[in-house]
Symmetry: D3
Subunit: 341 residues, 6 copies
Amino acid sequence: MSILKAAIIGGGHIADQNHIPALKNLADQVEVTAVCSRDLQKARALADKHQIPFAYDNAEELFGSQNKPDLIINCTANYLHYPFTMQALENGCHVLCEKPPAITAAQAREMADFAKMKGKILAYNLQLRQTQEYTLLKKCLESGQLGEIYHIKADFVRRRGIPGWGNFTNKEIQGGGALMDLGVHILDLALSLLDYRMPDRIAANTYDFIGKAGGKGLMGNWNAESFEVEDACFAHLSFPDNVSIMLSTTFALNTKSEKNVNLQVFGTLAGAVLNPFSMYTEIAGELANIKFPHLQETDIQLANTTAFLDACRGESSNICNAEQGAILQEVVEKIYQSAQR
Amino acid sequence: MSILKAAIIGGGHIADQNHIPALKNLADQVEVTAVCSRDLQKARALADKHQIPFAYDNAEELFGSQNKPDLIINCTANYLHYPFTMQALENGCHVLCEKPPAITAAQAREMADFAKMKGKILAYNLQLRQTQEYTLLKKCLESGQLGEIYHIKADFVRRRGIPGWGNFTNKEIQGGGALMDLGVHILDLALSLLDYRMPDRIAANTYDFIGKAGGKGLMGNWNAESFEVEDACFAHLSFPDNVSIMLSTTFALNTKSEKNVNLQVFGTLAGAVLNPFSMYTEIAGELANIKFPHLQETDIQLANTTAFLDACRGESSNICNAEQGAILQEVVEKIYQSAQR
Amino acid sequence: MSILKAAIIGGGHIADQNHIPALKNLADQVEVTAVCSRDLQKARALADKHQIPFAYDNAEELFGSQNKPDLIINCTANYLHYPFTMQALENGCHVLCEKPPAITAAQAREMADFAKMKGKILAYNLQLRQTQEYTLLKKCLESGQLGEIYHIKADFVRRRGIPGWGNFTNKEIQGGGALMDLGVHILDLALSLLDYRMPDRIAANTYDFIGKAGGKGLMGNWNAESFEVEDACFAHLSFPDNVSIMLSTTFALNTKSEKNVNLQVFGTLAGAVLNPFSMYTEIAGELANIKFPHLQETDIQLANTTAFLDACRGESSNICNAEQGAILQEVVEKIYQSAQR
Amino acid sequence: MSILKAAIIGGGHIADQNHIPALKNLADQVEVTAVCSRDLQKARALADKHQIPFAYDNAEELFGSQNKPDLIINCTANYLHYPFTMQALENGCHVLCEKPPAITAAQAREMADFAKMKGKILAYNLQLRQTQEYTLLKKCLESGQLGEIYHIKADFVRRRGIPGWGNFTNKEIQGGGALMDLGVHILDLALSLLDYRMPDRIAANTYDFIGKAGGKGLMGNWNAESFEVEDACFAHLSFPDNVSIMLSTTFALNTKSEKNVNLQVFGTLAGAVLNPFSMYTEIAGELANIKFPHLQETDIQLANTTAFLDACRGESSNICNAEQGAILQEVVEKIYQSAQR
Amino acid sequence: MSILKAAIIGGGHIADQNHIPALKNLADQVEVTAVCSRDLQKARALADKHQIPFAYDNAEELFGSQNKPDLIINCTANYLHYPFTMQALENGCHVLCEKPPAITAAQAREMADFAKMKGKILAYNLQLRQTQEYTLLKKCLESGQLGEIYHIKADFVRRRGIPGWGNFTNKEIQGGGALMDLGVHILDLALSLLDYRMPDRIAANTYDFIGKAGGKGLMGNWNAESFEVEDACFAHLSFPDNVSIMLSTTFALNTKSEKNVNLQVFGTLAGAVLNPFSMYTEIAGELANIKFPHLQETDIQLANTTAFLDACRGESSNICNAEQGAILQEVVEKIYQSAQR
Amino acid sequence: MSILKAAIIGGGHIADQNHIPALKNLADQVEVTAVCSRDLQKARALADKHQIPFAYDNAEELFGSQNKPDLIINCTANYLHYPFTMQALENGCHVLCEKPPAITAAQAREMADFAKMKGKILAYNLQLRQTQEYTLLKKCLESGQLGEIYHIKADFVRRRGIPGWGNFTNKEIQGGGALMDLGVHILDLALSLLDYRMPDRIAANTYDFIGKAGGKGLMGNWNAESFEVEDACFAHLSFPDNVSIMLSTTFALNTKSEKNVNLQVFGTLAGAVLNPFSMYTEIAGELANIKFPHLQETDIQLANTTAFLDACRGESSNICNAEQGAILQEVVEKIYQSAQR
């Protein structure tokens, strides 16, 4: 297997903690050759820390170098997903882009079309797909144990989890709040169970009461005065063949759990809950509850990076691909539109 | 206090078990003088059992008798709520009608208008309003502890609770399934918290997979072949001032709990859960969870009948009144319309 | 369906509390016409209490009467199971006999052979077969979910449950202690899962330390000085095709649980535990634990009496029949022999 | 106290993780001078890692060296326990041998006899004897609180714990499966409570269904095709004075617990459970359950090595000695014989 | 055994629910011949309900009647304990008097002295002495398992248990609040463990904040305006031989438990908690916690009445006798004096 | 902010583990320049370990050096708190002294007066004041949610926590046992809630049964023969305005919990428990229990050292100051006096 050359664009926490360690773990398939960041010092420090040979403060330079990468990990801020991904595709690179795909549906659509035209892999880092629980859920669905899914409750809810760092409350940079940051994860899981069908009816409401009022923070203290995004989003998605999703995603909500990331999936033969994974069905004519007490935690970033490399090599892969990303972004946009009416 | 004369129309289980015992308990305010049922033998047996003097198989006879009642308890099947209520109002009686108000929104509207014209009390037996939990929720809301409510999750969900008796799966008689029978209760609680505002946007889906497939029943065994109504209904209600409700109501769903009847109320200052009642808020700058370990169960039918009698006497009452019933029925109808698109 | 005439022999607690109420509940199939007890006064009192027409103190009289019964419920002490059952069969009656079948294997064999010769139903009141849990276990076995069973742990263990009344500690009357009284129940369940195969190797030990020492009783206080039977029995049963059972049955043991009545069944595809019913298997490549949270308690005496009547009418029935009873008694005898070596 | 010289034979995981660290912790009593392994490179690496001066690939060389050891830790594969132990004894060394003592009863007997003849200590590393729980159990037995023990349930059961590494499923190398690897531990604890009496009657069954069928592994994935040993063993041991043991030991079983290592000990005055340690008895005429909430985990390897060194110095020691090992191996062999009939 | 004649003085709830049923249950020892109450109609109704032959509204009449009682159950209000008990003794009757013994220490002393002079049994209905837990505690103490007791925490604490009926908040009638009504029970248990030694140092505080402020009642709603007694009392009792008791007794306190009635007893060898009964000690050199999971609830009124009758017959009895009652009342008085300083 | 120079007197565990790390963490405010210990080698080793420039075995030398400190951390044994604190104040240093303030009330009073005269800060390291729970309790009290506090239960109780090291059982060095070592902490918290009012009545008992008898130790094994202090102390404190405290503090007690450090605070409007922090009150007319599930553990030594430095800089601080320390020591002395009577 030939070894691919990878470059990182965006030198923040997620590059340092998630992507570079995963790539380093896959040294038989990929070599990290460069880090590119607006801040050259930061790029160099990160490169040094991980023993990566080159550092740039400029994407042109990166793509123009002798060591031109085969693939790019796009770790930039949300509003930069589009320009850097387009530039990388233009330069013939595969791209693993952080979520959300982009700021607008139009961008994500253009990115998908351009990747297709260029014959390159564009994929998104929605790594919750790689948990043992979701893998098992997919297996149970594919083996017919759930029957047909007709309703899903999708939750990514935090009680007081407005991040006290970064740009999470800045609308221009992030494109939105809880939905853009958290909701896309759980929405991707739900849509993937439905083969990324497109809903034909969306009703949604968004709120920002707690974010603008301020209060106790459990993920650092946020600035209520500069809070510009939604702290809560509730949406009902309905599909042409009468399937429905109820989505709840919040940065802050006056609720019991500190954090609830879950799917409840209702099928004609069985229901399933993602975390902890369980099924509710009938066995031998009686109602049965099934638990799986021995599921093990997996390194989901490692698994998702592996899935991306599989895709780059033309193998089958369960990664969120460019086309799915475009649909996901369109759904997100329609949710915001419904809420803004 | 003068004693009112009450007559029962409809001689079924709910008259026998709920209404007549409650009225008998309030003998200082009301006297049950007659039972009226299509089946005279049944009417007489019920009257004898409860030492009620008169039995009829005919409403005209009842209203034409010397012992003309002051108020009627309408315990008939759903599709008879309208005609018997109208007849009772026409005859100058107050009416406590079983839920749902009627089969159509137009009927419920006409009933409300006619009651107003006649100057009589028309109310509905949505007795979950009388639990200590809901009473406390209302008090906390009114005293400002919740702030403004902006989102409610309303659930009346059964795992395998399609009743194996009566007409619960017959569309003509009942007007619908889980929503008509169970959903109206929890919807009434939610709308009452919002002062019975009218939602301006409703998106809903209904299903009948389990009902039509058959299977294990936990409330007797139902006939899958004659199952005509929805076994599950999921709806998103949105109000002009950006408040939203997510409603889930089912007769049957592949889920863990045998039965879940609950409200989760999210306000700007605190959230509340109805069962068991609890609040989630901030106290002294820290996140606080509040429980009320000493709430006592109350006889909610007795309390609701009392509330009706209060209304009849012109006193303030928290009963679901005719106007609220008309709005509730309209919401129900819009949910069905959205689901049938 | 013609109504069978039943007579009770033995006027003790089990006739009064179990058998007569069950028969009375099945009045469309059976009529209790007589009670027979050594003590005529006792017989008459029991008959009067349950509105049974005739009372006798003598079986000959019973069988010689005009109202000759079609079936007999043998509720006598263990050592009388044989003579009264033989007499009843001789007189052309079906017999439902209390457990254990008899005092010796030879008696039980003779009873089975005689019933066969007479063309009458002889069955034993091992009513634990009728629990929802055991019924479900059988269904899961028959549908292949357990694979082949190769090992069973069978427990009927009490901490301090030596009955403080009756003849439970008298060897001549009872034939034995915990094994005769409790062990036969759980052994019957285990053997029935194995289609009543005969074990070819039995190793067992019995004890009477606590019974003879005396101490705190949880089922009344027993007389340690007249204690003659085993208070504990542990046995290993091995079958020709390499299946095994480990049996533990005690009246008294220094253990945690007040009472443990259970089967643990180990099959090639899944294991099952009887109480509360659960299964341990693999689903979709992962280890799965299955619970059945909605099993309902049933009236097992009513169900067993019904099963007996089914058998009398020539219908299929899961009751412990005469042939099974003979095998059960043989196994019991071999256990005692192994322990006495 | 003079310092003994110790050499390790067998350079695997158990030498590296258990024995060498324990010896190093006891530097005031013992000095590790050499490691001997078939693979010299492995021997040297291990020696270097632990700063041990000499490494050999040949036992003759070891025993012929100037630095002749006083004692040997035999960490070889099961089938090599016999030859290397005999060689060490021949060379005048004490031996701490890994469990099981040998492959056959005859070997273990010969080893014990030879050690006695040579006046050397031979002991086995059955270190579960050193837990605080077992120590306390012994103390309670010795102080009379349990009375006389008459029955023991001994369990070392894993749900899916067939090791996915090493030679655990190879019959020639290991001598057997679950019984040889796990059962000997719990059997040693049980027999030690009975002063290593010899049972005079053994009935046993062994199975290999899951091992040969394959499936989900919780300790790595095993190769079902080369699976040669028992995955489950159930045995009943009976002693001349009417004491009995029920042994259950499995690598794989369709049961709830991932792992259950326990003794339940039933005495005339009290019963005890090993993990977590508890007693069931009578106090002041009432049934009492006793827990010991403050037992602390101990380093059982360190304690067992210490016990071995105590024995080498002629002090009293609770280690499994050569004579006990011979009895243990004989019991194991009889269990296999009973199962193979 | 000759049958004693008993008369009831005071026709309230405690006579009806506790004393008369207990006496009726002991018909082989005692016969209830009369009820005496200020209100003749009430006396007669109570007598009729329990089939008691005579009813009086006047104690003189009772004592002057032909059916002069052998013993009196004094069920009057606290301030009447003294006069009616004295009158009964004067008339040669034994007396079982409700608690507290009297209103003042002087009264209780006089009652004890007069009973002694008259040679009659005077005892108090402190029936918590008869629980299985307290009986077991006494047994453990007497058998030496606790060693010497040196400290006791005695609690009879309610969160919001000011009775909403009767005279519980009236100082003149009751003599006090929580201490008089509840504290005497737990104090009697504590003092009885110490052989009713007299403390030589008492420090105490009493409060009435909640009682006077009003609020939610869990035992009916009390009248805050007429609240005259203490709702909380905390006292430290110290004995000449350096034993101490900490007493907490409340009608109302802002605490978690609705009700806590308990002793914690600290001895030199073990500690014990009364409810649920448990001991904390050392066994075999390790710290041990002992539970008694099979204690059964007993009918403590029946047992206390039996104990009284035993005393009347001159048998040994664990009832609170006249002398103990005088000491108890003196301790109560000293607690109030300390609090009033 | 100018950087203060700190010196440590007393080179033991608490200096090494608590004070020096805290000071090092506050390097922007304070610099540790010297360690002083009787044992110069120990002083130097500690200084080296923490990169502190100077080490002395003599306080005169320390105070006479060029690098004269601005503040002293007095980490000496209890009986040396007084002399070294006085010397430090004499030399113009602020002092943070370990608890208890001194051995006698007179010493503590003199220390406070001298500090005042010298215009220096003297404070005590009672760092439990800095937990999030106590901080929240104070906030709730100050905001009026508790109303007026009238009773406090203060517990610092260990089951078998007599330290097996140090001088904890030596009366001359320590001044006392559990009260001096543990009780002062919880007493300080309680008194601080009451604004350090002085109680006017104290009743107390102390014991040494377990300490002198010996037994199982959970904090090492103590020497029973040289045990000179109290292992248990129970006291009742009463204040002029009818507030009371019940204090329990033990090194050893036959109780369930290994360790219980807690306050139960009873106010007119609400009660509070410190660990885990909870409140018991009325909300909306119902009894409410409030929990705070998201309190985070804080570094209480760091917080207390910060509070001391705040005080040194003349800022407001919640540290236990010299005046409070004098009152605390007086209360301790009165408790001992009451117990010794």
